[in-house]
Symmetry: C2
């Protein structure tokens, strides 16, 4: 069954991590799993301090070339009658100004205790969701 | 830490579902969660009988327009020292011939009891992985 937009947004907010797909300038998709926070039709994720080779991440380079992205939240279990997923089609913006990052970082810190100890330094990726789509095997 | 190609392939095979990103003809990414099977450098997924509005799925239309895809397997838990992810960059091919679908469907049926009762009718999406990339917080 299809989920209403409201149900889709609620379910997305219930998972610990989402998947974020971007596309590079050659049309190749790229895919990461990421912590996030949601507020209204905005989804926020931030570059954090987990070990990385670089802060010039592929996701940021892709978004600069093409801001159209997709985010997926989903639930799997062996009993397939419990499956569901929610997809948010969105336009992404990269925030680096501390004032602009403050609210997203506060929302992320509410959700993850690790960020309360060490807030993500950013940049923040701010997604404006244009379309919420969702499906559940059963209501 | 980076994972070796062999470790990346093993970890991908250990999860129940992966995420598949495709790109449409306008360069917009699309994202689904899907059952799968892996054999060597091939990852297979199939259109199955879970409730859908259509079998002419967006993922199939995207692959026909642009066969470059990405697959992600990952593990999350509240203890971030246990996080890991694996990404496979691949080229996708759509299989509809019953003879070509037989081996992928057999591999999928080994992994999921639901497919033993009702094998997916297809089409099958066959991915040839060109690059395995993986990361784990710790070994």
């Amino acid at each position: 069954m299809r989920l209403t937009e409201e149900a889709a947004r609620e379910r997305l907010a219930s998972v610990p991590v989402v998947h974020l797909a971007t596309t590079d300038e050659d049309g190749r998709p790229h895919l990461v799993v990421t912590t996030f926070a949601v507020e209204g039709d905005h989804v926020y994720t931030a570059v954090d301090a987990k070990p990385k080779r670089t802060r010039d991440l592929k996701r940021l380079r892709n978004i600069r070339a093409n801001p159209r992205v997709a985010v997926l939240a989903d639930h799997y279990e062996d009993d397939w009658s419990r499956l569901w997923w929610v997809r948010a089609d969105a336009t992404a913006e990269i925030l680096q100004d501390p004032a602009a990052m403050a609210r997203p970082v506060a929302l992320l810190s509410e959700r993850y205790r690790q960020y309360r100890a060490a807030p993500p330094e950013g940049p923040v990726i701010a997604l404006s969701v244009e379309r919420w789509t969702g499906w559940a095997y059963q209501p």
